[in-house]
């Protein structure tokens, strides 16, 4: 069956440009998470969506980062005025409401030059 998909797989951008990263969760999963994984680091929580509730944005590192989830399905993570320290793998995960398991996508590798 279809898992979590993310696009693009890789993104190279110049410092100061805006980027949009997309996540398609597993159909029917009500919870959606964004994480960031820097080289040699574990996953860092960014933001969480649960159904129609207000998102938990407590992990966003600065106001240059934002995310939305339209229609309770697809989510977009936007990074404005990218900086070199934003270079990382951005991972999305989704979870069914009554389960603990988070299913991860393959990630988007972002390189800011």
């Amino acid at each position: 069956g279809a898992g979590v998909s993310q696009s693009p797989s890789n993104k190279v951008t110049e410092k100061g440009k805006d980027v949009e990263l997309r996540c398609d969760p597993i159909s029917g999963h009500t919870a959606l998470y964004w994480y960031r994984q820097s080289l040699g680091q574990g996953l860092e929580f960014l933001i969480y969506f649960q159904g129609n509730s207000a998102p938990d944005k407590s992990g966003l590192p600065s106001d240059r980062f934002s995310a939305e989830r339209t229609g309770g399905s697809v989510s977009t993570l936007t990074i404005q005025r990218t900086q070199q320290e934003d270079s990382a793998v951005y991972l999305c995960a989704s979870r069914a409401g009554n389960q603990e398991t988070q299913y991860f996508g393959p990630g988007t590798r972002l390189l800011v030059l």
Binding site: Y33, Q41, G42, L43, F104, G105, G107
Partner: protein, 112 residues
């Protein structure tokens, strides 16, 4: 100090050996403990999930939680080259609707 500490390795073992991985944590409120496996250029996948203290076994994998010591372990028996990956421990943040706190991950290399 990070809330979850994990030695990044790399940990190199010969095929057939037992792989021993561990994490320590500081938040005594953690109740749900997980181990994820991540192959190169892939997303993490859940291996083991344990609630509170105790042991859990699944095939060649055994997860142990010692809440009194704030210490969790993952053992892989009869290791195979296909077990070569990064192993991340994770703990569910209390009252957070499933938000996870991850360790840095340990890179494991199983040599034939």
């Amino acid at each position: 100090q990070k809330e979850v500490e994990q030695d990044p390795g790399p940990l190199s073992v010969p095929e057939g050996a037992i792989v021993s991985l561990n994490c320590t944590y500081s938040n005594s409120a953690f109740q749900y403990f997980m181990w994820y496996r991540q192959y190169s250029r892939k997303g993490p996948e859940l291996l083991m999930y344990t609630y509170s203290s105790g042991n859990k076994e699944d095939g060649r994998f055994t997860a142990q939680v010692d809440k009194s010591s704030k210490y969790i372990s993952l053992f892989i028996r009869d290791s195979q080259p296909s077990d070569s990956a990064t192993y991340l421990c994770a703990m569910r943040v209390p009252d957070s609707w499933g938000k996870l706190q991850f360790g840095a991950g340990t890179q494991v290399v199983v040599t034939p």
